[in-house]
C-alpha cells in the first residue's frame, strides 16, 4: 500500500496512529459482533432452542454498553484531534508557496514571477501552501503527506507540512470542479535543499510576472477604474509617479501643499475626503476603511514606493 504507510511528511505519523487505533477497535468489534451473531444463529436456532427465554432488559448491561463505547469514542476523538492540531499551527519559518488552482490545473507560485507546474520542495524544511482559486472550489490533496485543504475562491485557506521522504508524490484535486476534475493532478517532488535552491534559481520567470502584492490589492479593489497607471486623468489623479509627488490639496481649513508619503497615501484611502487633490471632486472616492486592512495598506504603500524607486 503505497501511501498509507508511506509517511511522507512530519504530519503523517499522527494521522496513521489515529487510523490504526480506530481501525483496530473497529476490527475487533466487527469480528466480535459477527462471531456473536453466528454463535446465536447456531446455538439458539429454533431447532435447538424451542423455548425462547423472555427477558427484556438488564440495566447493568445497558449501562456497560453505553459507557464503554463512550470511552472508546473519546479516545478516538482524542487521537484524531492530536493528529490534526499541528496541521493548523504553521511554524514561523515555513517557506510560503502560493498554490493557484484553476480549471483544471495547478500552478505553484514561488514568488517573483517564478511559476512551476510541479511542487518542488526542499527535504525536511517547513513549507506553507497558500491556496488560491481563480474560479470554482478545488481541493489540494497530497496523499503521501496526509494533507488536504479546499481551495475556495475568496478564501485564504492554507496548509503546511515538512517533507521527510525524498521522491515524487501524487497531487490530486479532491473537490469536484467540472469536466476534467480527474485530470487536475500534479506531482510533488521532494529534493535536497541544495538541489532545491538550484532548481529555484533555474526556474524561469514565466510570462506573467505576478503583481506586487500591493498592486494586486489595488486591482482587486478596482482602484484602476478611477486611477490610471499611465499618467492620464480619469476620475481621480493618476497613480503614475504618485510617491513623493508634491500635490496641492484642499482641506476643510483651506489649501496646502503636501508631499505624498506613506501616511498621506494611507489617509487618502481611508479618509479620501479629508485632503482632496485640487482639481478633483470631493466625495467621489469612498472610504476603504472596511475593505482594506492595515496590513494591506502597508502593501499598497510599499507598492507605490517601489514603483517610484523603479523610475
Amino acid at each position: 500500500m503505497e501511501t498509507l504507510f508511506n509517511e511522507g511528511s512530519n504530519l503523517a505519523g499522527a494521522v496513521d496512529r489515529a487510523f490504526i487505533f480506530i481501525f483496530a477497535v473497529s476490527f475487533i468489534f466487527t469480528i466480535g459482533i459477527t462471531a456473536l451473531m453466528i454463535y446465536i444463529l447456531i446455538h439458539f436456532s429454533r431447532k435447538r432452542n424451542k423455548n425462547p427465554q423472555q427477558f427484556s432488559h438488564n440495566t447493568k448491561l445497558e449501562v456497560v454498553w453505553t459507557v464503554i463505547p463512550i470511552l472508546i469514542v473519546l479516545v478516538m476523538f482524542y487521537y484524531g484531534w492530536v493528529g490534526f492540531a499541528p496541521m493548523r499551527q504553521v511554524p514561523k519559518d515555513a517557506m510560503p508557496v502560493t498554490v493557484i488552482g484553476k480549471m483544471w490545473s495547478w500552478e505553484f507560485d514561488y514568488g517573483n514571477g517564478k511559476l512551476s507546474k510541479e511542487l518542488v520542495v526542499p527535504y525536511n524544511k517547513n513549507v506553507k501552501l497558500n491556496l488560491v482559486s481563480v474560479d470554482v472550489n478545488h481541493s489540494l490533496f497530497i496523499p503521501a503527506f496526509r494533507v488536504k485543504e479546499d481551495v475556495i475562491p475568496g478564501y485564504k485557506n492554507y496548509l503546511w507540512f515538512r517533507p521527510i521522504m525524498k521522491g515524487t508524490f501524487d497531487i490530486y484535486c479532491t473537490e469536484y470542479c467540472g469536466l476534467a476534475h480527474s485530470a487536475m493532478t500534479a506531482k510533488a517532488v521532494v529534493v535536497d535543499s541544495l538541489e532545491f535552491n538550484k532548481w529555484l534559481a533555474d526556474l524561469k520567470v514565466t510570462g506573467n510576472v505576478p503583481d506586487h502584492p500591493g498592486l494586486a490589492i489595488i486591482k482587486a479593489n478596482a482602484c484602476l477604474t478611477c486611477h490610471s497607471m499611465d499618467g492620464s486623468k480619469i476620475i481621480g489623479p493618476s497613480f503614475k509617479g504618485l510617491f513623493g509627488r508634491k500635490t496641492v490639496v484642499v482641506t476643510d481649513s483651506g489649501e496646502k501643499e503636501i508631499e505624498a508619503n506613506g501616511d498621506y497615501i494611507k489617509k487618502s484611502i481611508i479618509d479620501p475626503n479629508a485632503d482632496v487633490v485640487k482639481g478633483f471632486n470631493k466625495g467621489l472616492m469612498q472610504s476603504y476603511k472596511e475593505k482594506i486592512s492595515a496590513e494591506d495598506l502597508d502593501k499598497i504603500v510599499d507598492y507605490f514606493k517601489t514603483a517610484g524607486e523603479a523610475k
Partner: protein, 537 residues
C-alpha cells in the same frame, strides 16, 4: 387474475380495481404501494447508472463513455438514490402501509394530504429525470450542488435543483402526516410506551424531515435565485460566501442521512423479536436512542466540511459531536444482539437480511467514525473511502433493511408467499456482490483515490476491477430477488395471516388487510412485544 381471487375475501387490493382507483385512492396501503413501485423503478434506473459507472472504471481513461457523461451520471445517480430512493424509501413505503396498522388506526391523519404528497413526489421525481435528459445537457455538479460550480455549470442544474426542492416538499408533508398520526390516532390503550418501535423510529424520522428539509429548500431556492436573478449569496465575486452554502446544505443533508437510517433501524427492530420469539431487549433505550440520534444528528453537519477552511474551533467541536452521535447507534446494535440472544432463532430470509444489515451497518458505521476523526478525515475526505462508507451504510444499511422489510411484510401486503430458497440464493449473491463491490473502494480510498474521478492512476486498477466484478454479482442477486418477489406477488402460495407468529397489530388482521384495516379498533392492554401470551388469530 387467477381463480384464487374469488376465494380471497375483499381486501384493500381487490375491493376496487382499475388504475384510476389506485391513482385516486387515499388508502394509506395503496399509497404506500404506489410509492414502492415508483421507487423501485427509479432505483433500477439509478442502479443501472451505477453499473455503467463501474464499467467505465474498468480501465483508466475512457472505457465506454466520455468524462462529461460520467460526471452527469454520478450526479443523477446520487440525486435519484438520495432524494428519490432512500430519503422517502422506507418511511413512505412501509411507513405508509404499516404505521396506521401498527398503531391500530384506520388510516393516517390526513389521507388526502397523503395522496397529494405522492403526486408532489412524482412531480419532483419526473423533474429530476427530465433534468438529466433535457437539452441533452445533464447537470454535473454531484448531488451536493456545491457553489460556485453549480452556479455556473450546465443550465439543467436549475431543473435538478427544482426537482430536489419539490421532493423535499413531499418529504415534509409525509413527515407532518406521520407526526400527527402518531400523536392523535393511536388506538385506545396504546400509550407512548406501548407503541411498537417501527412507529417510534418513524416518529423520530418525521421530526427531522419536518425541521431540516425546509433549510435545504430555501438553500436550493437561493441557488436558483443566484442563477436566475444573479443575487450572489454564494458567489465570492459579489461578496457571497461559498462555504456558507456548504453549511446550509449540510444542516439539512446530515440529518437527512438519519432520515434514511432510522426507519431502517426500526424495521430490523421489528424483525429480531419476531424471528426470535422473544421481546425486544431494552425497549426504552431503543426509543431514546432514536430520539437522541434525531436530535444530536442535527448538530454535526460540519463533519462534511473539515477541509473547507472552517475555523479550528468548529472543526473539533463537530468532530466531538460526531463521535457522540455514534453512541445511540452502538446501543441499538447491542440491543438487537441481545434480543436474539436466548431466543428461538429462525433463520428465514427476513432475518437473514436483517443480520446482514447489522454486519454492513457496523462496517459502514465504523468507517463513519474513521471519517469523523479529524486527522484521518483530512486523508480520507472526498476519496473513494467516503464512497464506500456511504454505500455500506446506505445500501448495506438502509438498502438491506428495505430488502428485509419486503421479505418480512410481503405475505401481509400481497397475501402470498415468495419462494424461500430463491430468496436465500439471491441474498447470497447480494451479500457477496455487495462486499466485493464496495470493500475494495475502502482500500483504494485509503491509498488516495479521489471520488468523482472519471480517470484514475493505473495503480488503483486492481481495486476498481474487483469492484466492477462485484457490481455484476450484485446485479445478479438483485434480478433474482426482484423476480422472485414480483412473480410470487401474484402466483405465490396463499399466505396465512400471521406466517411468522408476530405479535404486533399488523399480524392480527387478515392478509392482505381489509380496506378499513380493522373491523373494530383494537384496545391495547400491554406492551407491544409479549410472546408469552400467544395471540390467537
Amino acid at each position: 387474475m387467477t381463480n384464487s381471487s374469488t376465494s380471497v375475501p375483499l381486501n384493500y387490493l381487490n375491493h376496487k380495481t382499475g388504475l384510476w382507483s389506485w391513482l385516486t385512492s387515499t388508502d394509506h396501503k395503496r399509497i404506500g404501494l404506489m410509492y414502492m413501485y415508483t421507487i423501485a423503478i427509479f432505483f433500477c434506473v439509478a442502479a443501472i447508472l451505477g453499473l455503467l459507472m463501474r464499467i467505465e472504471k474498468l480501465t483508466p481513461g475512457q472505457t465506454i463513455m466520455t468524462a462529461q457523461t460520467y460526471n452527469g451520471m454520478f450526479t443523477i445517480h446520487g440525486i435519484i438514490m438520495i432524494f428519490i430512493v432512500v430519503i422517502p424509501g422506507l418511511a413512505a413505503v412501509f411507513g405508509n402501509i404499516f404505521l396506521p396498522i401498527m398503531i391500530g388506526a384506520k388510516d393516517v391523519a390526513f389521507p388526502k394530504l397523503n395522496l397529494f404528497s405522492w403526486y408532489v413526489f412524482i412531480t419532483g421525481a419526473l423533474l429530476g429525470l427530465y433534468s438529466q435528459f433535457a437539452n441533452g445537457n445533464s447537470p454535473d455538479t454531484g448531488w451536493t450542488f456545491y457553489v460556485p460550480y453549480s452556479a455556473a455549470a450546465s443550465s439543467n442544474v436549475v431543473i435538478a435543483l427544482t426537482a430536489a426542492f419539490v421532493l423535499g416538499f413531499a418529504s415534509i408533508l409525509t413527515g407532518l402526516n406521520f407526526i400527527v398520526t402518531i400523536h392523535r390516532m393511536r388506538a385506545p390503550g396504546m400509550t407512548w410506551f406501548r407503541m411498537p418501535l417501527f412507529p417510534w423510529s418513524l416518529y423520530a424520522t418525521a421530526w427531522i424531515q419536518l425541521l431540516a428539509t425546509p433549510i435545504v429548500g430555501i438553500t436550493l431556492l437561493m441557488v436558483i435565485a443566484e442563477r436566475t436573478l444573479h443575487i450572489g449569496f454564494f458567489d465570492p465575486s459579489l461578496g457571497g460566501d461559498p462555504v456558507l452554502y456548504q453549511h446550509l446544505f449540510w444542516i439539512y443533508s446530515h440529518p437527512a442521512v438519519y432520515v434514511m437510517i432510522l426507519p431502517a433501524m426500526g424495521v430490523v427492530t421489528e424483525i429480531f423479536p419476531t424471528f426470535s420469539q422473544k421481546p425486544v431487549f431494552g425497549y426504552v433505550p431503543i426509543v431514546f436512542s432514536s430520539l437522541a440520534i434525531a436530535l444530536v444528528g442535527y448538530f454535526v453537519w460540519g463533519h462534511h466540511m473539515f477541509t473547507s477552511g472552517i475555523s479550528y474551533e468548529s472543526r473539533w467541536f463537530f468532530s466531538f459531536l460526531t463521535f457522540l452521535v455514534a453512541i445511540p447507534s452502538a446501543i441499538k446494535v447491542f440491543n438487537w444482539l441481545s434480543t436474539m440472544y436466548g431466543g428461538s432463532v429462525d433463520l428465514k430470509p427476513p432475518l437473514l437480511f436483517a443480520i446482514s444489515f447489522i454486519f454492513l451497518f457496523t462496517i459502514g458505521g465504523f468507517t463513519g467514525l474513521t471519517l469523523g476523526s479529524l486527522a484521518t478525515n483530512i486523508q480520507l475526505h472526498n476519496t473513494d473511502f467516503v464512497v464506500a462508507h456511504f454505500h455500506y451504510i446506505i445500501f448495506g444499511g438502509m438498502g438491506f433493511a428495505f430488502f428485509a422489510a419486503i421479505h418480512y411484510w410481503f405475505p401481509k401486503i400481497y397475501g402470498r408467499m415468495y419462494n424461500f430458497k430463491w430468496a436465500n440464493i439471491s441474498w447470497g449473491f447480494l451479500f457477496v456482490g455487495f462486499n466485493l463491490l464496495y470493500f475494495p473502494l475502502f482500500v483504494i480510498g485509503i491509498q488516495g483515490m479521489p471520488r468523482r474521478y472519471f480517470d484514475y492512476d493505473p495503480k488503483f486498477q486492481t481495486g476498481e476491477v474487483l469492484s466492477t466484478i462485484g457490481a455484476f454479482i450484485l446485479i445478479t442477486g438483485l434480478i433474482l430477488m426482484i423476480s422472485n418477489l414480483v412473480y410470487h406477488s401474484r402466483r405465490g402460495a396463499i399466505a396465512p395471516a400471521n406466517p411468522w407468529h408476530g405479535v404486533t397489530l399488523e399480524w392480527q388482521i387478515p392478509s392482505p388487510p381489509p380496506h378499513e384495516n380493522f373491523d373494530e379498533i383494537p384496545v391495547i392492554t400491554h406492551e407491544p412485544y409479549r410472546f408469552d401470551h400467544p395471540h390467537t388469530n
